[in-house]
């Protein structure tokens, strides 16, 4: 069990090469399930590989269990890793695969057997022990890979997109399996994925990374409801948050955001915050599920409004996605109840509670901090 701390960790290929991980600070508590989330190429895998000891750390300090491990080889860091491709040794049976790492560590044969059979029974691999990986299904291979990490009983588990090669149904099962094992073992786990659903469902905390930097760290719902910038706002949530540029204006009723196609009161921000933004350009955002056709649905709450031309209506059964073009090149998506009585090219107006609005700095993309967003469904 261990705390993992990344202190200004940087990875640069060559003295003048690209910086793929840029001064990353992450503190992972003992027993925490930390998810590194981001699009491909954001540096999350490289970060994980540096933690694993598979990649040199260019600068910064990495400690595991209060020990600085920059100079410690992978095998001595007391970690185990589950790979995207599972990395099962094709020439060894399942049992040998499970035991391979232990043998090296000079465990007594009885101890090796005990751990292997225990892991196998937990993961339902007992009948498969003598098979070669090539004779296993994808899900079974995944479980062997997991088992191989488990038998080691390491301080830290590392997962590198372990579910991305599985089909949807299996992915859900395995996800549950991993959560279960995390609960059972209570070990520190670091999990890399580009899938926000995995991140939201599995992580104790999520670390969203973008272009080699940490964009935001926080509990899944915190990150969802309080995105630190436009990148996080769009990356988390499906469909992504709707964004459009607008100006902050002041009026008799208070401050508001306004553009040719939208108009919204800004109720979550103090006048002091907004005062400095008056007549300045900002990025305005609303999540798809906060858009409504009917103003009445919002009740007494102050409502914002957006206007646009219908591009497409996508009925999904339980709900319907409505795509509108608010400005040339800017599309918004609304997640609406089943029946949406509009047709393509019609101009429609959609409403949202003012408390659901986000504003971001137009140039840096950083969120303008306001009063905490209240979860409307609570």
């Amino acid at each position: 069990m261990a705390v993992v701390t990344l202190d200004q960790i940087t990875k640069q290929y060559g003295p003048t090469g690209p910086v793929v991980v840029d001064h990353v600070d992450i503190h992972i508590a003992d027993g925490e399930f930390m998810v590194l989330l981001g699009p491909s190429g954001c540096g999350k895998s490289t970060t994980l590989r540096m933690i694993a000891g598979l990649e040199e750390i260019s600068s910064g300090k990495l400690s595991i269990g209060n020990r600085v491990v920059n100079q410690v080889p992978a095998k001595d860091r007391d970690i185990a890793m589950v790979f995207q491709s599972y990395a099962l040794y094709p020439h060894m049976s399942v049992a040998e695969n499970l035991a391979f790492g232990l043998r090296r560590r000079k465990f007594a044969a009885a101890e090796v057997d005990r751990r292997v059979s225990e892991a196998a029974s937990i993961l339902g691999l007992t009948p498969l022990l003598e098979r070669k990986p090539s004779a296993l299904s994808g899900g079974q291979r995944q479980r062997v890979a997991l088992g191989r990490a488990m038998v080691r009983e390491p301080m830290v588990f590392l997962f590198d997109e372990p579910l991305s090669n599985l089909d949807a149904a299996l992915r859900v099962n395995t996800r549950t399996e991993i959560i279960k094992q995390h609960k059972r073992l209570g070990s520190t786990m670091i999990y890399v994925t580009h899938d926000q659903v995995e991140a939201m469902t599995m992580g104790t905390r999520i670390c969203v990374m973008n272009a080699g930097k940490v964009a935001q760290i926080g509990a899944p719902l915190d990150v969802y409801w309080e995105p630190a910038d436009t990148f996080v706002a769009r990356f988390l949530g499906s469909p992504p948050m709707n964004l459009a540029s607008a100006m902050v204006a002041s009026s008799a009723t208070g401050h508001g955001a306004r553009s040719a196609s939208l108009e919204s009161p800004l109720t979550r921000w103090s006048p002091a915050v907004l005062g400095s933004l008056i007549d300045k350009k900002i990025t305005f955002g609303v999540r798809a599920e906060d858009l409504f056709m009917n103003k009445a649905a919002l009740g007494s709450e102050p409502a914002g409004l957006v206007r646009g031309r219908v591009i497409a209506v996508e009925p999904l059964g339980a709900e319907t996605l409505l795509l509108i073009e608010v400005e040339p090149g800017v599309e918004w998506t609304a997640r609406l109840p089943r029946h949406v009585p509009v047709s393509t090219d019609e101009i429609v107006e959609l409403y949202y509670p003012a408390s659901a609005a986000f504003i971001f700095d137009a140039t840096t993309g950083r969120a303008v901090i306001g009063e905490a967003r209240r979860d409307p469904r609570q």
Binding site: S59, P73, S85
Partner: protein, 315 residues
């Protein structure tokens, strides 16, 4: 704060740093252990002799005396008629013969893949010639081409085609072709095995899909199989090409370059000049070899440009 060397040089970094660094890097001594034996063999028994050959090409060597002659050997080479004949013959070998080898191999592989009866037996039978040494192949085929009792002429006579009966290896018009056929006989089986392996690793859906499209076998071969096997076929072609550029044993044993230099290849000419020329001059043959090395390298690099794909293996 830089804790570990950033150097991309394999030898950089302390020994312990290597084990925690990128697994695609290794410390110099690990690389040395892996590469040294091969490089030692290479340097001692290939590079050094080759370099010596290049060095010798600037000398005329009579017995133990070497006289520096600069580029004279190379100049003489340009006007050496036999050399140019041998170049022409070698190019015919190199461009024609591999096509024959690979095409035959591909067709045989397709036949096996299509599930002809006795496939296992046929696979071994068709591969048998690959197992025979050039000495043996040469003996056998000299007998087969024998004018009086060779099977080729016997068959022709039996078919009443006496007009076609000829001394296959003695006739300058047929000798080169006869050798190429012999060579194809020996190597088609090898190409078959490689093609068969490649076809087996093709996704069968594609072949089935083309079956549904109801295209003829010619079209399928042309539009589906050959394009998908392209890397394999090109690789085989290049290997065969290199082999043919060096072709020696078979020619030397069967015709020694005759009749009238009709089957002379660069390699036989080099050997002839080095060992069969009533002189000890190694300079001139070395010059031929050096020129040829450059020609072959160039040709292979050009051909190699054609294949660059290298997909990863899936488990």
């Amino acid at each position: 704060m830089t804790t570990t060397s950033m150097s991309s040089d394999a030898s950089g970094g302390a020994a312990n740093a290597s084990s925690l660094a990128d697994p695609r890097r290794a410390s110099w001594w690990v690389l040395a252990i892996f590469l040294f034996p091969a490089l030692a063999v290479y340097v001692g028994l290939t590079a050094y002799p080759a370099f010596r050959t290049f060095y010798d090409s600037f000398f005329t060597i009579e017995g133990l005396d070497a006289t520096f002659v600069g580029l004279d050997n190379y100049r003489a080479l340009m006007s050496d008629e036999t050399f140019w004949v041998s170049v022409r013959n070698t190019f015919i070998w190199s461009f024609v013969a591999p096509v024959l080898d690979v095409a035959t191999g591909l067709l045989l592989a397709l036949a096996l893949y299509a599930g002809v009866p006795f496939a296992r037996f046929l696979r071994v039978a068709w591969f048998t010639p690959v197992l025979l040494s050039y000495v043996v192949v040469a003996i056998l085929w000299t007998w087969i081409y024998n004018y009086d009792w060779g099977v080729v002429n016997l068959v022709l006579r039996a078919l009443g085609l006496d007009a076609l009966v000829t001394s296959w290896l003695g006739n300058p018009n047929t000798a080169l072709a006869a050798l190429i056929v012999t060579h194809a006989w020996k190597w088609a089986g090898f190409n078959m095995v490689v093609c068969l392996a490649a076809i087996h690793s093709l996704p069968s859906e594609v072949l089935e899909a083309s079956e549904l499209d109801n295209c003829g076998w010619g079209a399928k071969l042309r539009y589906v199989i050959v394009p998908m096997l392209r890397p394999t076929l090109l690789n085989l072609y290049i290997l065969a090409f290199i082999g043919k550029m060096k072709i020696f044993d078979l020619v030397w044993i069967m015709t020694q370059g005759g009749p009238l230099w009709a089957t002379e290849t660069v390699s036989t000419y080099v050997y002839k000049r080095a060992f069969n020329w009533n002189t000890f001059d190694l300079g001139y043959p070395s010059a031929i070899a050096s020129v040829w090395f450059v020609v072959v390298c160039g040709a292979v690099i050009i051909l190699n440009r054609l294949l660059a794909t290298r997909e990863r293996l899936e488990y």
